[in-house]
């Protein structure tokens, strides 16, 4: 039996794999950045919500009403929405990590000095998991967008 690493790639094949790995790594790093940003913003929103809940009755006065009033939001609604956003952020972050791993494994295979390490198999598994996560994200975000479009 032949391993994936023993496939006879010609230079054109290797160039195609290398080019894909570079863009894959770039997308993975952007996804990690976006996921981390979402998580940091979520933490900031939680801190702001807690601070407002603690200090709002003290600083609100009748003579100077608040500039923006977003309406009454219960803690359960707030927690649900924030939990959903954090879940999406974690999915984006995990997908980015998997894409970066897959890209590094593909580049290791192209520039490898030994064939024993199963770089290609690891890359394909990481890439497959990243695409499953991507499909979940697309289903959630796309479904949400279509649902919002139907409401409008």
């Amino acid at each position: 039996m032949r391993r994936l690493a023993e496939l006879p790639f010609d230079p054109r094949d290797e160039r195609a794999i290398d080019g894909t790995a570079r863009w894959m790594g770039a997308l993975g790093r952007f996804q990690v950045l976006a996921g981390a940003l979402v998580l940091f913003v979520s933490i900031g929103v939680v801190v702001a919500w807690t601070f407002a809940a603690v200090t709002a009755p003290e600083i609100e006065s009748d003579t100077t009403p608040p500039l923006v009033r977003l309406g009454e939001v219960s803690a359960l609604q707030f927690g649900s929405v924030l939990g959903g956003i954090v879940f999406l952020g974690i999915l984006v972050l995990r997908g980015g990590v998997l894409l970066t791993d897959a890209a590094e494994d593909l580049e290791h295979h192209i520039h490898a000095t030994d064939e024993d390490a199963p770089y290609l198999e690891d890359a394909l598994h990481a890439l497959a998991n990243a695409f499953f996560i991507d499909a979940t994200l697309l289903a959630i975000l796309g479904g949400g967008l279509v649902w919002l479009g139907s409401l409008a």
Partner: protein, 206 residues
């Protein structure tokens, strides 16, 4: 400088794990006179001929006769393209797992695309539906093509060269997908950061 695997492959050299191709002519050049061997009874001592040589270089291997039933040693350089071993199970499983993931991704994208375009045709919805539908269709195409090529890797009828090209083409089709996604995500991140800075500046002014 360490020689990489890619450089060795480009030169057509093989490693120790490569299969054997039996070619008697490449192992030893044909000679008109067979050298004296132990089987012919020329010398009972195996090292005797080595001591007879005065130039210091004795090719003991060439003095040995090889029966026709004995397998010959492998030549040093063997082309990988001549190897007809089938892809092993972990390799086939990894390629098909990725093909399935691409199929699932493509199905989700096509569902989104047809839902948006259907709404656009039925209700005459606006630009967002057209944008979602067209982008989903564009993203689904590389997924379908990549899944098609990767699903064919490791079939019983395919040769190793065909497997390698199919694998590279399947991965290469995904490049368009990654380029589009990375560009859109970069623009979204940039615009998001700019909007965040703008809102923060306006709130600071107030």
């Amino acid at each position: 400088m360490t020689e990489t695997l890619g450089e060795r492959r480009r030169r057509g050299e093989d490693d120790a794990t490569a299969p054997f191709v039996l070619d008697r002519s490449s192992v030893r050049p044909p000679t008109t006179e067979p050298p004296p061997t132990h089987e012919t009874g020329a010398s009972p001592n195996p090292d005797e001929h080595a001591h007879d040589e005065h130039d210091g270089v004795v090719d003991l291997v060439s003095r040995r006769s090889i029966p026709s039933s004995e397998p010959l040693p492998a030549p040093a350089a063997t082309s990988r393209a001549n190897d007809t071993r089938r892809l092993d199970k972990p390799g086939r499983r990894a390629a098909r797992w990725l093909a399935w993931a691409l199929v699932v991704d493509a199905l989700v994208l096509l569902t989104l695309a047809f839902t948006s375009l259907g709404r656009l045709l039925d209700e005459g919805a606006g630009a967002p539906d057209l944008l979602i539908g067209s982008v989903s269709l564009v993203l689904a195409l590389p997924c379908v093509l990549g899944a098609r090529h990767l699903a064919g890797v490791g079939r019983r009828t395919s040769t190793p060269t065909h497997d390698a090209h199919g694998f590279a083409q399947g991965i290469g089709h995904l490049r368009a997908l990654f380029v589009i996604k990375a560009t859109v995500l970069f623009m979204t991140l940039g615009l998001g950061c700019f909007a965040f800075w703008l809102i923060a500046s306006l709130l600071a002014l107030l």
